[in-house]
């Protein structure tokens, strides 16, 4: 019997010829990632001392200060300092700070390889699955276990296969596909499972767009969001002088617990309405004319080059509505520089956007763009939970970078296709 992509990766990592969904195995971890907010400072540093344990292999550990950079106050600064010092004291040379959200840095720096097992103390670690890695979020105590002996126990997940066929129409992006899938499966519909995205639509997407989709697998409760590797994956790694790697995909006779089919040609812009990610509506049904105070373009979900470039295309020559604000945080320093070189940041800035540092701060309401009581934000990020982006009396709609750009210009929730 064939194996799913998850089963293949976990079999290799656990030293087994084959595994099947439901098996519980010990798997070797290829890369362990921590950030600042959920890094060594939370139940990790102290516990390592209590256990008298050392990091099993510092070369397989990556630490990224991204949530509290740039720090908004002395407490945040102290956390970044602690994280930096801890990395240095434990011989972790893969330490990065101030250059963007961890998930983007992980893929950009080549720390997520096809077929590898990656565990991180941040739930959106599932993004790495777009490169054919089994990449998943875990808590701090589990990270202590990995840091001590390099292994984690895993229950091999069942796989929901999500097949998207056809090309997007104008004004539609990968984010819309991601939201449509989440709306269908629901916030807990994939709990403990892998969601594997496949089909001609996925094949036709670049890596920026693919990352946007797997990033949000956890919003359905999923343990992992996976994609096959192909020529697009190879090209991504060739750009950093790595690979080519063996092509990875589920076997033709693999067992899926569920298969869902979607038609991308019929897909329009979607938004997740407050305060749940799976509260997904067609933008036209979400309440046309809802006043938008803040439009946010950024994060590990929606701040990559393709996102900025599409938003700039819509915005070029127009102005952000008076009294509204468009905040832009490229998903990494590298993307910042590429977008600057291509004139994208200039276009956005000339329209009235504020170009900010690459950071997680806005998405999770820590600094740089916190919402006041009653304010409404349209955001290219991944969560719209009550209180997340600031006041618990604020409202966040999740949408594509085009939807964000359109809202900034119109000052209200509007179908971005009206601008084409």
């Amino acid at each position: 019997m064939g194996m799913t992509l998850s089963e293949k990766i976990i079999a290799r990592a656990s030293g087994a010829q084959s595994v099947k969904a439901g098996d519980i195995v010990w798997a070797d971890v290829d890369m362990a990632m921590m950030d600042d907010i959920l890094g060594p400072r939370v139940e990790i540093a102290e516990r390592m001392v209590e256990l008298g344990a050392e990091v099993w292999n510092p070369d397989k550990v990556v630490i990224i200060s991204d949530h509290y950079t740039p720090p908004a106050n002395a407490k945040q600064a102290a956390i970044v300092k602690f994280t930096r010092d801890w990395a240095q004291a434990h011989g972790v040379e893969n330490y990065y700070e101030y250059i963007g959200p961890c998930h983007q840095i992980m893929v950009e720096k080549g720390h997520v390889l096809p077929g590898s097992v990656v565990m991180g103390t941040d739930s959106h670690t599932c993004m790495g699955g777009a490169l054919g890695a089994f990449s998943s979020g875990i808590g701090s105590t589990e990270m202590v276990g990995i840091l001590v002996n390099g292994q984690i126990w895993l229950r091999v997940p069942e796989t929901i296969r999500v097949i998207w066929e056809g090309n997007f129409g104008e004004g539609v992006m990968a984010k819309d596909l991601s939201l449509a899938t989440i709306g269908k499966i629901g916030h807990a519909g994939a709990t403990y499972k892998t969601v594997e995205y496949t089909g001609s639509t996925i094949d036709g997407l670049n890596m920026d767009e693919r990352f946007c989709i797997t990033n949000m697998a956890v919003e359905m409760g999923a343990k992992a969001g996976l994609m096959n590797t192909d020529a697009v994956t190879d090209a991504f790694f060739a750009g950093m002088g790595k690979g080519p790697f063996e092509r990875l995909a589920s076997d033709g006779d693999a067992v899926f617990c569920e298969t869902l089919r979607f038609d991308a040609t019929a897909l329009g812009p979607k938004v997740s309405c407050p305060h749940e990610v799976d509260n997904v509506l067609d933008i036209g049904d979400a309440g046309k004319g809802i006043r938008v105070d803040q439009a946010y373009l950024g994060s590990c979900t929606g701040g990559r080059y393709t996102d900025l470039s599409m938003a700039a295309k819509l915005i070029k020559g127009k102005k952000v509505k008076h009294g509204r604000r468009l905040l832009v945080s490229p998903a990494s320093k590298n993307i910042w520089e590429q977008a600057a070189k291509a004139g994208i940041l200039k276009t956005l800035s000339e329209a009235g956007a504020v170009i900010m540092a690459p950071t997680c701060g806005v998405c999770v309401g820590l600094h740089s763009g916190i919402l006041a009581d009653g304010e409404v934000c349209v955001s290219s990020t991944n969560r719209n939970f009550v209180g997340r982006m600031g006041s618990k009396k604020a409202f966040t709609y999740l949408g594509s970078p085009l939807t964000v750009a359109a809202a900034a210009i119109a000052g209200e929730l509007v179908d971005p296709r009206e601008f084409f």
């Binding site: 907010i37 344990a53 808590g139 589990e142």
Partner: protein, 174 residues
């Protein structure tokens, strides 16, 4: 701890996510300080009124969202006795057990009201509502997980193991 735990119910609904349990704005505080803001987005009274030993009773998908261990850690600081929900989100569920918090699933949480005295038998997989004299089935904690919870979580468990030299040190594995 025995296989039973008794406490008063503190009721929540569906989809109580980690941004609600441990609001990100307070995460720069120590876990003990941050715990004072637990659930504040939907219930500003929670942290000041919940009593040690109270049992959280919730609907579907409790603990969805972030992997942050500050969510169950806040509840541990508030000395929650146990958590019962129709379903739990994956990462939260594992984090809670790793911190020594007992978590069981029960389809009948709608029948439990605020303040009901409830008594969970983890080994038998039953939840007795003393206030209403009703018994509902709930998930059992397997004996090794119950042992983990009784020891106070994974770290305490590992300490004991390492004390006995059961866990190889990194050097010994090379």
């Amino acid at each position: 701890m025995q296989n039973m735990r008794k406490g008063d119910a503190y009721i929540f609904g569906d989809n109580i996510n980690t941004d609600i349990i441990s609001p990100p704005q307070y995460m720069e505080l120590s876990a003990a300080e941050a715990a004072k803001y637990a659930m504040s987005a939907i219930d500003t009274e929670f942290a000041s009124t919940v009593k040690p030993g109270d049992i959280i009773v919730a609907g579907n998908n409790f603990g969805s969202g972030s992997s942050r261990e500050l969510a169950p850690l806040s509840l541990r600081h508030l000395q929650i006795g146990a958590m019962v929900a129709k379903t739990f989100a994956r990462i939260f569920y594992r984090n809670a057990i790793n911190l020594g918090l007992a978590v069981v699933e029960c389809a009948d949480t709608d029948k439990i009201k605020q303040g009901d005295a409830i008594n969970i038998d983890f080994a038998a997989g039953t939840l007795y509502n003393e206030t209403r004299n009703e018994t509902y089935p709930c998930s059992k904690l397997p004996s090794h997980i119950l042992a983990l919870v009784q020891e106070g979580g994974l770290i305490e468990h590992l300490k004991k193991q390492r004390g006995k030299n059961n866990l190889p040190s990194p050097e010994a594995r090379d």
